[in-house]
């Protein structure tokens, strides 16, 4: 019982972090296999469990639902009690969530390679697993809101808005996008389903990954640099505009498809307006650092989280740009969109997830990271790898898009792309190597028995500028 469901504070967060690191490694290996197959499709034996069409959903689902989500869960099991100045409502229940959620990811691993899929992007997991995810999210909602209800700090810090809100949105988005209609595949009929799917698909990144990553960044950057955020009003603007704007933008994935025109217009307008909440957040965490910038680099975790916010900046300039119909004539269907996905989920989400792991683990364990050097090395591998993926796919995408627009057929453009796919593969090897170092570092940090550090001084996390 005490091994399975320990009551020790921080045990659940720690286990979530460890599982996250392992899922990162598993997920990027599938990504690398896919990338290699795009360079040399006959390298691996022709086998259905290894084919690109199975690797790709496996890659995405393991990384989004395995790597990113577990790291975020681990992060807020620590952050929520910290900003509420209380204890987690039930550590045992949180530990139950660890096992339960990991069982879900294992179930994904055990179904997707066998072609058990709903066939909808980001909603591939079969219905039974979807239900289980809803149950797991419900448990986490209970843990988070239960803890918030017992808070001793009267101000609710902005991290808690994003984390609590983000979980509720996750539950809703998942339920309507994926679960409640027509049990076996959770979809609507006809073109309506695409509108539903991209409402869902877009919100998986916008209302599931984004708020959780932002919530953690709002906690870690001010705390690590001992600098309060810039303005409470900006937090409010960023938060409310995120929920209002992001939800309207799903149709920017369908700008060239036969869906109603007014929906397209609405999605474009909102996509561009999204710059406001993005900059509200960035201003809030960046501006106070203007003359203490070097503090960011003291902690490797904070450094990664900060880098994640830079990626966020780039992603959210690229995104509105790609939402313009005249730009999308070139970019849609090309690898440039996949470049965007990678700086979004690996650059922004992934760096914040890894940074949160490195920042919070030492606090929970009350001892240093196993190796700062290893972590720094991983940081550079991952950073260069992500840049490599982004740049190579950007070039490939521009070549594709321009050539198609000029009347070139898909087949004739293929020889042009090869070199960029090779570069992407090399960049991928760097990310995979980084992931190996990450697993080693996290594992050894947890296993190592060293005397605890002196207890931390006063907490900075609730210093909200009024």
């Amino acid at each position: 019982m005490n091994f399975l469901l320990p009551n020790e504070p921080g045990s659940a967060a720690r286990r979530f972090f460890l599982s996250s690191a392992i899922w990162l490694l598993v997920g990027v290996i599938f990504g690398l296999i896919g990338a290699i197959e795009m360079v040399d499709p006959d390298l691996f034996p022709a086998h259905e469990h290894l084919t690109f069409g199975r690797m790709r959903p496996l890659h995405i689902n393991i990384l989004v639902f395995g790597f990113l989500m577990t790291a975020f869960f681990g992060g807020f099991l620590h952050v929520i009690p910290a900003v509420c100045r209380t204890k987690l409502i039930s550590e045992r229940l949180a530990n139950f969530a660890v096992w339960f959620y990991n069982a879900i990811v294992v179930a994904a691993l055990a179904t997707l390679p066998f072609g058990l899929t709903q066939g909808r992007e980001y909603a591939e997991l079969i219905w039974g697993i979807d239900i289980a995810i809803l149950a797991a999210v419900a448990v986490l909602i209970f843990l988070v809101f239960g803890t918030i209800a017992r808070r001793t700090e009267s101000l609710l810090y902005v991290s808690a808005w994003y984390i609590g809100g983000g979980l509720i949105w996750t539950f809703f988005v998942f339920a309507v996008g994926n679960v409640v209609w027509q049990a076996p595949h959770g979809s609507w009929m006809g073109i309506h389903d695409q509108i539903l799917l991209w409402f869902y698909g877009h919100n998986v990144v916008g209302l599931v990954v984004t708020p959780q990553a932002i919530g953690l960044a709002y906690y870690i950057i001010p705390r690590a640099t001992r600098t309060p955020i810039y303005s409470h009003s900006l937090s409010l603007i960023g938060f409310w505009m995120l929920i209002v704007m992001y939800t309207h933008t799903g149709t920017h994935h369908l700008l060239q498809a036969p869906v109603p025109q007014w929906l397209k217009v609405l999605s474009i307008v909102n996509s561009i307006s999204l710059i406001v909440p993005v900059f509200a957040f960035l201003t809030n965490v960046w501006l106070p650092l203007k003359d203490r910038f070097s503090r960011v680099f003291r902690d490797v975790g904070a450094k990664m989280v900060f880098t994640g916010t830079i990626w966020y900046f780039i992603v959210c300039l690229q995104g509105p740009y790609h939402s313009l119909p005249s730009v999308q004539r070139v970019t849609h269907f090309t690898q440039w969109v996949i470049a965007h996905s990678h700086i979004a989920l690996l650059g922004f989400g992934g760096f914040i997830a890894m940074g949160a792991t490195y920042y919070i683990l030492p606090i929970i364990l009350k001892r240093d990271l196993y190796s700062r050097l290893l972590a720094d090395f991983q940081y550079w591998l991952m950073l260069i790898g992500t840049l490599g993926i982004f740049l190579s796919l950007t070039f490939a995408g521009l070549i594709q898009g321009e050539a198609w627009l000029m009347g070139e057929v898909v087949y004739r453009v293929l020889p042009e792309l090869k070199i960029y796919f090779v570069v992407r593969g090399i960049a991928g090897v760097m990310v995979v190597t980084g992931a190996v170092l990450f697993v080693i570092n996290v594992l050894l940090t947890i296993l190592r028995k060293t005397p605890p550090l002196p207890v931390e001084g006063s907490e900075a996390e609730t210093e909200v500028a009024a």
């Binding site: 022709a46 072609g115 949105w169 609507w188 929920i243 057929v409």
Partner: protein, 328 residues
């Protein structure tokens, strides 16, 4: 200053979310009757086609292939822009988000079943530059299902193309089975008279020959083979098999021009057989180049740059034989 608390965060935002969900997802569903009306081209699928669709989804074809044609497209299927009514009655329509391979929404009738068999076994057999994964492990029934599904894509228009393929297929098979000479005679009978009188307007220069070679390697090798004997790796799957170009020499090309005949057949393909058309992939000059290459390298009968000149070449190399200027 707004004081945020759990109730605002939880219930307030959830209310906004529900509201917006109704606005942007539920409203379009009930205010867009066009999307529930089958388009003129739409038809329901048969059971075997549905089984192929399930396989398509389970093998993840949708991650590389889209299924809708946009206003700006030129490639396969571009003759018909997608309409909302094309997807009526389909669960989880596979519009796709990435085009690593061509759009498949109008795939039906573009290729014959034997082309698909070779292509699925290993896409490099019919398309040497492809990076589509091999599907050699599919069983006979699976292959039949997924091919039937591909042939159904494009609704009634696809059905017409498929019917035309089958009609010609009967003739092509009969001609092939009647022997090599009869086959070639049948093949040439289907080339319009005019084309049989057009020699290749392009002189064979070193540059154009090399270009022809590259085109051959990128497009033709898998079927017609590296030496043009029709023994490329795809041959096991294709019936009637790819033409052995060297037999054309024996057959002679009496009274006709090799260039125009080859041009016509490469441009249009041979309907009913696996021989695809190349008019989308290759511009005019490239087809002339590969015709010259095939004629010189494999057939051994070359009429490049000879009389009567039906068409002027796009360029006249200074070091080639003197060229007569037509007109004045």
């Amino acid at each position: 200053m707004i004081h945020m608390n759990a109730r605002i965060v939880g219930i307030g935002t959830a209310a906004i979310l529900v509201l917006i969900f109704f606005a942007v997802v539920v409203t379009p569903r009930y205010t867009n009757p066009m999307a529930d009306q089958p388009s003129m081209n739409h038809r329901a699928r048969t059971a075997i086609e549905e089984s192929g669709r399930d396989l398509y989804i389970s093998l993840g074809c949708q991650y590389c292939h889209s299924q809708y044609i946009r206003r700006i497209d030129w490639d396969t299927g571009a003759e018909r822009i997608a309409q909302a009514g094309d997807y009526v009655g389909e669960y989880a329509p596979q519009l796709g988000s990435s085009r690593n391979g061509p759009d498949l929404s109008q795939q039906g009738g573009e290729h014959t079943d034997d082309w698909h068999a070779a292509h699925f076994y290993n896409p490099r057999y019919t398309r040497p530059e492809s990076f589509m994964p091999p599907f050699s492990y599919l069983t006979g029934t699976e292959l039949a299902g997924i091919t039937a599904y591909l042939q159904s894509l494009g609704g009634h228009m696809a059905d017409q193309r498929v019917a035309r393929q089958w009609q010609w297929r009967g003739q092509a098979t009969a001609a092939y089975e009647a022997g090599a000479d009869a086959n070639i005679e049948w093949l040439h009978r289907n080339v319009p008279e005019g084309w049989l009188r057009v020699p290749n307007p392009y002189p064979i220069t070193e540059a154009s020959f090399l270009r022809g070679e590259v085109i051959y390697q990128r497009h033709c090798l898998g079927c017609h083979g590296p030496v043009g004997d029709g023994q490329g790796p795809a041959v096991r799957f294709i019936y009637p098999p790819p033409l052995n170009f060297t037999t054309l020499n024996r057959h002679g090309i009496e009274g006709g021009a090799t260039g125009g005949m080859l041009y016509y057949q490469i441009m249009n393909g041979i309907t009913g057989t696996a021989m695809p058309y190349f008019k989308r992939e290759l511009e005019s000059e490239k087809i002339w180049d590969v015709s010259n290459y095939v004629a010189k390298q494999f057939i051994g009968i070359v009429d490049a740059n000879t009389e009567p000149r039906g068409i002027d070449a796009a360029f006249e190399p200074v070091d080639s034989a003197p060229v007569q200027v037509r007109g004045n």
